[in-house]
Subunit: 461 residues, 2 copies
């Protein structure tokens, strides 16, 4: 790198070098909020930025933010490309432009009632890092880029991080392309991912694979989405891994009989049974120190005075340890069987369908070390607010991210920033401008450290 020398990843970079390049906080925040005009929704206050977001993957607003992303990247002399999953790659060539780039990745899609930071901060911080390199005419050893992964949320097409999953060859392309949106459009029809990629013009020709689009390593800045950093008054989470989680669709089958004329003894009430199962899953998750959540429930036929013959509901279970997650699942399977057969009037049938199985993830030590060194440097200049004096901590992510899939194919780690009240997937999700900039500064330092590491260990020779 041309401007200042980086001497290894473990904090040996000189104080002078560390402060040589600074992210521009107001430019970062302007970029975040000006991009949020595409898909803004759910206003909760008078200030122009006091709205949430409803930029569901591959909708019209997503098309607009993609155009914005490409034109921003091109203004920084980046090479852009689009793969078959609509993943957008923007790469700023380094001295050794033939080698795979270091990528800073996250996503620009949101939940239906999402906020302005989840995913959005990570992509914008990546672009801000490129702007800093660009305005300082920095020539890095290898190439450095930003990737916007498609449909990370899994909110519209129900498979989380599906596009980074295809890139990692963990999910077949056809499976992803054929995913149908969870709610039909205004005309009553459900679009597939492929149809919507085509419709908005982002069905690229480049294969979606780590083989054809290799990445040297992947860093992702993200809001914590939980209350820990805020509660402990720290500023940065050095993320060492991601908790294990599984998603299921549970189907409960009973019988649709009349609500007024069917005595309890004769009922097969799938809604009552489903309610008991949701309560049971919650109790089991608590007992094992994990989490259980049902966010979707549909009953058929859906009439006030008729029992539902069929109820389907989503079940999301999580634990930091794979073994414990397996125990939660097993306890739920046993509990659901007991309740549906014996504690639910005449009984119902329960079927399980596994939608996602995401084992616990351990990020790469080299990436964690680069983030940790950068974090320590950034934190030493911050006013101390934490009781124990440490302005950062190690963390395990509660949520899945694209980084879980990239970690299968290249060294990966993540950086967390505080999240107001621990609230995300909500219009009022918030991370202060100062905290966003701290996170972006850590990202910049981590990327430069890793770039130097590559040169030192001979990646380019």
């Amino acid at each position: 790198m041309a401007v200042n020398g980086v001497n290894g990843v473990n904090g040996t970079r000189s104080k002078h070098d560390a402060s040589a390049l600074k992210v521009n906080q107001s430019r970062l925040m302007d970029a975040i909020h000006s991009g949020c005009k595409y898909g803004a929704a759910h206003r909760y206050g008078d200030h122009p930025t006091e709205t949430g977001m409803a930029r569901l993957s591959l909708n019209d607003a997503d098309k607009q933010i993609r155009e914005w992303f490409i034109s921003t990247a091109q203004s920084l002399n980046c090479k852009t490309s689009i793969d078959q999953m609509g993943n957008l790659f923007a790469i700023r060539p380094g001295k050794n432009a033939e080698a795979p780039p270091i990528m800073m990745g996250s996503h620009l899609d949101t939940q239906p009632t999402g906020g302005r930071y989840d995913g959005i901060l990570g992509v914008n911080a990546g672009l801000e890092v490129l702007k800093v390199l660009h305005e300082n005419n920095v020539e890095t050893e290898g190439s450095i880029g930003v990737v916007n992964w498609t449909n990370e949320e899994g909110a519209r097409f129900p498979m989380m991080a599906v596009a980074s999953g295809v890139w990692a060859e963990a999910i077949p392309l056809e499976t992803a392309w054929n995913l149908e949106e969870v709610s039909p459009g205004e005309d009553g029809h459900r679009r597939t991912m492929k149809q919507e990629l085509e419709r908005i013009g982002y069905l690229g020709s480049q294969p979606a694979s780590y083989r054809t689009t290799p990445i040297a390593c992947h860093f992702e800045l993200h809001i914590e989405q939980g209350p820990s950093l805020e509660t402990e008054r720290r500023k940065v989470g050095v993320v060492k891994g991601v908790q294990a989680f599984k998603w299921f669709e549970i189907t409960v089958r009973g019988r649709d009989t009349h609500a007024g004329t069917t005595p309890f003894y004769a009922r097969m009430d799938s809604m009552l049974c489903a309610a008991k199962l949701i309560v049971e899953a919650n109790a089991i998750a608590k007992k094992f120190g994990g989490l259980a959540t049902t966010g979707i429930l549909n009953g058929q036929p859906g009439s006030i005075n008729t029992m539902a013959h069929t109820v389907t509901f989503s079940l999301d279970i999580r634990h930091v340890e794979d073994d414990k997650l397996a125990e939660i699942e097993q306890a739920c399977r046993e509990g659901f069987m007991r309740i549906s057969e014996k504690e639910s009037e005449k009984g119902c049938k329960v079927e399980w369908k596994e939608l996602v199985n995401s084992p616990a993830v351990k990020f790469h030590p080299d990436c964690i070390a680069a983030v940790e060194a950068s974090t320590k440097e950034v934190c030493q200049d911050l006013p101390v607010t934490a009781e124990d004096g440490e302005m950062w901590r190690y963390m395990i992510s509660g949520a899945g991210h694209d980084s879980c899939y990239t970690n299968r194919r290249c060294p990966t780690s993540m950086i967390f920033t505080p999240t107001k009240d621990g609230i995300s997937h909500n219009p009022q999700e918030y991370c202060s401008p100062e905290d966003c900039a701290i996170g972006a500064q850590v990202l910049l330092g981590a990327v430069l450290r890793y770039d130097k590491l590559r040169a030192e260990r001979g990646d380019f020779s």
Copy 2:
């Protein structure tokens, strides 16, 4: 009446008279099943009649069965009329044609997964009675007719028996007209009752009111929809009233936060809270000897890894006594508050909206007497199957019916027939041809007895 004399309502009609007029079982069943081609759905067996029905009120199939009803009635020389709620009246003039008619009423709409008997049997039995009178050239004292009440099920437009309710002036016309269908159409829009009445051509000009369309009395033949008659091996229920019921829409408000990053202590999980409330309502109803059912539940925003911020669900509670129903409601209100505030992590808010309040109904003694006398006559010719030798019993209806509203404005009672396995609001709902004909025969006898009663007491003088 010209063919045979009816001597009072209390079984004093002679044996000869009782057997003089007979309903035609095969004609009745042909009419039922040929009409079911409009809206047949949910096939469960190979026989042509082994389907359920999905004839939701005012859909295209409902338009077709209405045309069939009118042409059938006109072939029997009946006068037909349509009121502002689309209620269809077919009246066969009697000797005193100016006096209000005796009406046999029920409904031709079904649940989305309904069967071939609920409502349909009552209207067809009424038409069969008119056919018997027509083919025997019987001149009754007063006029006798059949009414098809609109949207009895409340399955499409969510207010049960709304059109007989408007007729009884218990529900304002505008309220009924403005009801929106529970599920949007294929174009994503919800139609109102008035729009759909207009669309299918059944928005009549005649005011929907007992004042302009008076009825002398109302008899309704209906399947029991419960298991009692079948279990006790009896053939007829003489219905003395209807249990009280209330419908509510319950809204639970929480907060939509991330399923993986929000620890239990920080959650306001409206789906978990709703599940606990449904379980609680069930326990309370059991304790008080009543019923509680949730047939509809919707969660928003509806994402696997995001808690629902809002869940709405229907609550249908019933008891044969008004006082006990009030106790169930009160216990649910207290229990829901306790659970939502204290037993649901960080707490949720619960709102109640009353949709229907249907107090316990006591039918008119004159109508009950006419049905009872007719029942006794019909039953004396049946082979005995019940253990105690009685082939009929008094009953309280578990379900609401149009008869609840007609009973407010004219003497009313109902006749029940056995229902296989007690199942209704289900495609496999079934009442045997023999049992359908027994019910229709009881209806014929009850109508003729009441006609004679009117003449005897001077209604026409």
